[in-house]
């Protein structure tokens, strides 16, 4: 049981650090709150949906920016969507970069857009890694027979 406790503590610490570093915000907590008996895998489900969606969006963004004549409207739409989904999942830093991205799109600044795309990708990968780590931790706790603690 001590390992469970340890794991739980670890989980809490990790989540708190994610919050503190700005990777996650309260929206994620809200998601976690929504998870209950009727939707046991709600968070995982949503997050995996987010990952799929984000991969697609990042691909779209990359191709859109590689065009000779960049369609900023389309890029903006993609960025907007990415921003919306990120904010819904609570990926704070991704959301922030997306906001910048949108700004560059409106200014039709190709350099800025490309830079932002890189940043978004980077942030996204970070976020993904962190989240996956979190889920792994969660799994370990569950396997150890403990319950996932709620972090306020």
């Amino acid at each position: 049981m001590s390992s469970v406790l340890q794991l739980q503590r670890q989980f809490i610490d990790y989540t708190t650090s994610l919050h503190n570093e700005g990777y996650l915000d309260n929206q994620f907590t809200e998601l976690q709150k929504l998870q209950d008996e009727s939707n046991p895998d709600f968070v995982t489900e949503v997050v995996s949906m987010y990952f799929e969606d984000s991969d697609k969006l990042l691909n779209n963004l990359t191709t859109a920016l590689q065009q000779r004549n960049v369609d900023y409207k389309q890029v903006d739409a993609h960025a907007h969507q990415f921003k919306g989904s990120s904010s819904s999942i609570g990926a704070k830093r991704v959301t922030n970069v997306c906001a910048h991205f949108k700004g560059f799109c409106e200014a039709k600044n190709l350099d800025g857009c490309l830079r932002c795309l890189q940043q978004v990708k980077q942030e996204y990968i970070f976020f993904r890694n962190k989240l996956e780590a979190l889920f792994r931790l969660e799994q370990q706790i569950l396997q150890a027979g403990g319950s996932v603690p709620m972090v306020e």
């Binding site: 929206q27 809200e30 949503v46 949906m49 969606d53 739409a77 907007h80 969507q81 819904s88």
Partner: protein, 1160 residues
């Protein structure tokens, strides 16, 4: 004239400049004063600007005036000159012509006379010569003395005949060759005629003949005469008519000889004449001489001389001059004066006898001056023909016409000169001309002056008008600016308050969360509640501002929904009574029974009207009461004498009723002069109001706009006594013509008896009046002693047996049966009890005596302590209402009492749970749910204060009608006396704990707050779809998800178009209660979808609330959302609480029935 004009113009100009500068300086000083008074920079600028404008306009006006005046002057001057010129020119020309003719005529006549004199003289001479020749020829053979004498005698006769026939002749002389002279002479002085001859004896015939013979050789000359000095001359006076000798001949000296023409005067043997003078006449004489020749020899035998006086010419001249005035004179060519029109002598006596004088030496001054003038003008060289016409010769001090004519006679050329005073001919003309000129000049000057004055006056008007117009323009400009700025202000306020409202709502929401937190200490809780109240107040203010700006921009749209007017107003009074209690003011509501229960309108706005009015009254009322009266137009139109006169026809038109209300207070009142202006925005009756009472002065403005919007009017009405009486009416729709509840019939057979022991006299009076009206016996008591008195009187307290009798106040004997049948209700105000000490328990003990007989209903204060409530409950007083007591509460009490009575009559001591249902009959579904829960948990008592707070914090009312805190009256019922132990946990626990329990309940409540609400979610992002769906489902809502706007529209339309008729559509509710619409979606975005949905709704009563979801957080997006017809706006990420409150506030707007139905 021109010079004069220009001078006048320059003078006028100077005057104008002076006036102008004076006006300017005045203006400047004046404006300075004004500025000093105003002390406002903006106005100063404006004034300066205006001044500059005025200055330039002044200049332009003055220049225009000046130009017009100068033009006028020139015109008038020209006119004057032309008039003067033409009148003068023509008259002068014609007059001159006339004058010339006259002068010519005048001069011609003496000249002609002269001419005729000359002619006659010559003729006589010629005749004498011819006769002499004839006589001498006939008698040339006179050989002796005798014959000679005969010849001379004949000659004398002949000569006399001639002399007598010509009266004008002065003398005729015949001098013979031999020196004999015969002469006739007329002396004009004594009109005597003389015959003059010399002594014949001295001359011999021989001599005569000698002379005759030798004369051809020697001739004869004057020498012979002169040599004959020694000869004796004789003069005989003759009868002038007959020539007879009438006197003696007299010898006269030769000196007195008249001019005897001698041979010397006919030097060439031809006739000659000259002007001569004689001693006898004072006028010159014209003498002609002619030789008498011997026909045969051709030698001269005698010389005939004829002398004519020129006197008659002078006479004629005098006559002419007498008639015409002026002077005429005749001169010889050399300038010797021959005749004048004056009486001055023409001859000069010199040593050598009288001589002719020159004209320049004439004694007549005018003639002398004229002659001198002519001499001076022409000198020695007279103009050819001597013709001179001078019109303006200045002689002395007078002007004269001088005309001269030349009479060219052989050997005697003459010059006639006429001197006529100019005054005689042109005198009047010159005078008239001068007068005319004067008149003309004065007239034109007058016209000029009048014209200038007219111009000044007229242009003054124009300039004034210009000034006014300029002012008007600037005012209009200022007004436009002010309006524009006011518009900007409204816009700004609207935007700002809208912007501020959102964070405020968030703050309030967060505070609610905080309040529901369980780990707050009591102080923290109190602080947070305080913040919560303040926030609500702030939000209310924001709402007010938004309302005003909405109304100002005409965007306020009133809803049309059914609501219970009575209940809303009672709730309002409940709410305000808490506030009033602190002020020691009684709040009373008095709605007449005929008011329709359900009306159609905007309940929130109606409540807002009364909330504003009542809060206003509370602000200004420190003691007394505030009454809210309400009645329906029909019944009271006669009683209330209709301050706003309305036609009867309009009041029932299309199911509309006119509801009259009065808010009556006993506050400080409003000055009658402010009765109108208090309804203006930011207007307060007294400037000190803000300081003393706070407020912004917006409340009444909102009230009036809302009232007007509802087809009503509001005004302050004169009332007796202190305070304010606001009267208003509203035109509201009634869905169906439901007959008002007839309480009289309802309670008639229950035989109710009510004792009203209430503190507030006004409310008690109104209630007892009403009870009396519906046929219920009532007794009033305002203090404890009175109450005990009445109770003892009613129930005869000495005995507790059932067979007691009593008399009511009307001395009606009440039988035992009646007491059995009647229901006694004793309404006691908790304030009647002496709460400060423990006496109240004694008082309760006293009342317990009557508990079996009568039903006690307690009116509680909002600060009634729980101990008292518990105590009351313990004693079985379960019927409790909060202050203030009004009709519907009383009705509830009575109904509860009646029900209990009937039940107790039927079943004895049974459970009366149903009563609760009665009480909650018009509570909203939530509270019924709650009540149910409470029932289930067997904790029926719900503390009123908490109940109130709960409802406040349930955002259902918090958002929609902030100013209306519905105070649910709860008549907590506990019928089982034995169930006291099971009474709420609250009994044992402290307040905080109690609250927590309540809020715990509330959390459950919130989580399921969307129970039954059907929501259509239009969202393309799957993550958001999922998250939102889960969130909403957790709240109990039913969620349908679509991926884009097109699907959303289809989802909404498909059930509608599935073969449904329009009527069915109308009747059936839409498939969803609300749509959550993402703004950016593929295929059709949220804006387009909303537009399409709103288009489809057009023409129906449907209005499905649409809430926008967007990742943008700009207000412009919100504006856009609202513009396309969405109702609210949520930003991503979705905040659960905000979403719930938004959804609730929107679904509440739908008819209640619908939600209730879905709840079921």
């Amino acid at each position: 004239m021109h010079l004069c004009n220009t001078m006048a113009a320059s003078f006028i100009k100077q005057v104008f400049i002076k006036i102008h500068s004076a006006v300017n300086s005045w203006e400047r000083s004046h404006s300075r004063c004004r500025r000093r008074g105003l002390h406002r920079d903006v106005e100063q600028d404006d004034l300066q600007h205006n001044n500059a404008n005025c200055l330039s306009s002044y200049y332009s006006v003055f220049v225009a005036r000046l130009a017009i005046m100068v033009m006028l002057a020139i015109l008038i001057g020209l006119l004057t000159i032309l008039t003067w010129h033409f009148t003068r020119l023509y008259t002068r020309a014609s007059l001159n012509a006339l004058a010339y003719g006259l002068r010519y005529e005048l001069l011609q006549r003496p000249v002609l006379r002269m001419w005729s004199i000359l002619n006659s003289t010559v003729e006589i001479t010629t005749a004498q010569v011819k006769l002499s020749e004839f006589v001498i020829r006939k008698y040339n053979k006179a050989e002796n003395q005798a014959e000679q004498v005969e010849v001379y005698a004949i000659m004398r006769e002949v000569t006399w005949a001639l002399f007598a026939s010509h009266r004008a002749l002065n003398s005729i002389t015949i001098k013979y060759k031999n020196g004999f002279v015969q002469a006739f002479h007329r002396d004009p002085r004594d009109n005597s005629t003389y015959y003059i001859y010399n002594d014949l004896t001295n001359y011999t015939m021989a001599g005569l003949y000698d002379v005759n013979t030798s004369s051809s050789h020697h001739g004869w000359n004057d020498q012979t005469i002169h040599s004959n000095i020694s000869a004796v001359w004789y003069r005989e006076p003759l009868d002038p008519d007959t020539g007879e000798k009438i006197g003696k001949q007299k010898a006269i000296p030769p000196d007195e000889l008249i001019n005897i023409a001698g041979i010397s005067q006919v030097p060439y043997g031809a006739a000659s004449w000259h002007v001569a003078v004689s001693k006898f006449t004072n006028s010159p004489l014209l003498s002609a001489a002619m030789p008498v020749r011997d026909a045969a020899q051709g030698s001269i035998v005698a010389v005939v001389g004829v002398t004519t006086s020129l006197y008659s010419v002078g006479q004629l001249m005098k006559e002419l001059v007498e008639f015409h005035s002026g002077h005429i004179y005749l001169t010889s060519q050399e300038g010797w004066l021959l005749a004048t029109s004056s009486t001055t002598p023409l001859l000069r006596n010199s040593t050598s006898g009288p001589n002719l004088m020159m004209a320049v030496d004439s004694q007549d001054p005018v003639i002398q001056a004229g002659a001198k003038w002519l001499l001076k003008a022409y000198g020695k060289k007279p103009p050819p023909n001597h013709e001179v016409h001078i019109e303006k010769a200045k002689l002395g001090n007078k002007l004269y016409y001088i005309d001269s004519f030349f009479l060219n006679l052989k050997r005697l050329p003459m010059v006639g000169v006429l001197i006529v005073p100019r005054k005689y001919i042109m005198g009047k003309v010159d005078e008239r001309a001068f007068k005319t000129l004067m008149i003309l000049i004065s007239a034109s000057v007058c016209i000029l002056v009048i014209g200038c004055v007219c111009i000044f006056v007229l242009t003054n008007g124009v300039s004034k008008e210009m000034k006014l117009r300029a002012e008007l323009i600037s005012h209009l400009d200022a007004r436009r600016k002010a309006e524009a700025s006011s518009n900007y202000k409204s816009q700004f306020l609207a935007n700002m308050s809208h912007e501020l409202r959102t964070p405020m709502a968030a703050v309030i929401g967060l505070l609610d969360i905080l309040i529901s937190d369980e780990c707050l200490t009591n102080e923290q809780y109190a602080t947070v509640s305080q913040i919560r109240r303040c926030s609500t107040a702030l939000l209310r203010l924001l709402n007010n501002i938004l309302d005003i700006s909405k109304v100002e921009s005409g965007k306020l749209v009133l809803e049309e929904a059914e609501f219970d007017m009575g209940r809303e107003l009672e709730g309002l009074v409940d709410m305000f009574s808490v506030q009033c209690k602190n002020h020691n003011v009684e709040t009373v509501i008095d709605l007449s029974d005929d008011m329709p229960k359900v009306v159609q309108g905007d309940s929130a706005r109606v409540v807002q009207i009364f909330a504003n009015l009542i809060s206003n009254s509370i602000k200004f009322t420190t003691s007394g009461y505030i009454i809210l009266r309400g009645w329906c137009e029909d019944s009271h139109s006669f009683i209330e004498n209709g301050n706003f006169l309305l036609e009867k026809s309009s009041c029932k038109k299309d199911n509309k009723v006119i509801l009259w209300f009065e808010v009556d207070d006993t506050g400080c009142g409003i000055d009658p002069s402010k009765w109108e202006s208090v309804f203006e925005s930011f207007e307060q009756a007294d400037p000190s109001t803000t300081r003393l009472h706070g407020g912004t002065g917006l409340g009444l403005c909102i009230v009036r706009t809302l009232v007007n919007k509802m087809g009503g009017e509001i005004r302050v009405v004169k009332k007796n006594g202190p305070g304010t009486l606001m009267q208003l009416y509203l035109l509201l729709g009634t869905p169906v013509d439901t007959p008002p509840e007839n309480y009289k019939l309802k309670y008639a057979d229950h035989n109710l008896k009510v004792v009203l022991a209430l503190n507030g006299s006004m409310g008690r009076m109104i209630l007892s009046k009403w009870l009396f009206k519906i046929g219920v016996h009532a007794w009033d008591a305002c203090e404890w002693n009175e109450l005990t008195h009445i109770l003892q009187y009613l129930f005869i307290p000495s005995r507790y047996t059932q067979n007691l009798t009593f008399e009511c106040s009307k001395d009606e004997p009440i039988t035992k049966q009646e007491i059995e049948a009647s229901v006694f209700i004793i309404v006691v105000d908790i304030g009647l009890l002496n709460l400060s000490t423990d006496i109240w328990k004694e008082q309760l003990n006293f009342l317990d005596i009557f508990n079996k007989r009568a039903k006690f209903a307690w009116v509680l204060n909002h600060d009634t302590s729980n101990t008292i409530k518990m105590e009351l409950r313990n004693r079985g007083h379960l019927l409790m209402v909060n202050e203030p007591l009004y009709k519907s509460k009383l009705v509830q009490i009575m109904e509860a009492a009646i029900k209990e009575k009937t039940i107790s009559l039927r079943h004895g001591d049974t459970d009366t749970h149903e009563l609760l249902e009665i009480d909650n009959v018009h509570s909203d579904p939530e509270s019924s749910n709650d009540s149910e829960k409470s029932l289930n948990s067997n904790s029926t008592g719900i503390v009123q204060v908490e109940e109130t707070r709960r409802v406040v914090s349930s955002s259902r009312y918090g958002i929609v009608s902030n100013c209306f805190l519905e105070l649910t009256e709860v008549c907590s019922e506990r019928n089982k006396p034995g169930a006291n132990e099971a009474f709420p946990v609250a009994i044992n626990n402290d307040n905080a704990r109690e609250k927590r329990v309540q809020y715990a309940e509330k959390t459950v409540n919130v989580q399921k707050s969307l129970e039954g609400v059907r929501i259509l979610l239009a969202e393309d992002t799957p993550i958001l779809q999922r998250v939102a769906t889960i969130m909403l489902e957790k709240m109990g809502a039913t969620v349908a998800v679509v991926g884009d706007g097109l699907q959303a529209v289809e989802a909404l339309q498909s059930p509608l178009e599935d073969g449904m008729t329009a009527q069915q559509q109308m009747r059936d509710p839409p498939p969803y209660d609300l749509i959550l619409m993402d703004c950016q979606m593929p295929k059709m975005d949220g804006y387009e979808a909303t537009k399409a949905i709103r288009r489809a709704e057009m023409g129906t009563d449907l209005h499905i609330p649409i809430v926008a979801l967007t990742a943008h957080a700009m207000s412009s997006d919100e504006a856009k959302c609202l513009e396309v017809g969405m109702d609210a706006y949520l930003t991503k990420p979705i905040d659960c609480k905000l979403m719930v409150s938004t959804i609730l506030s929107l679904t509440k707007l739908q008819p209640n029935s619908h939600i209730i139905k879905s709840t079921e």
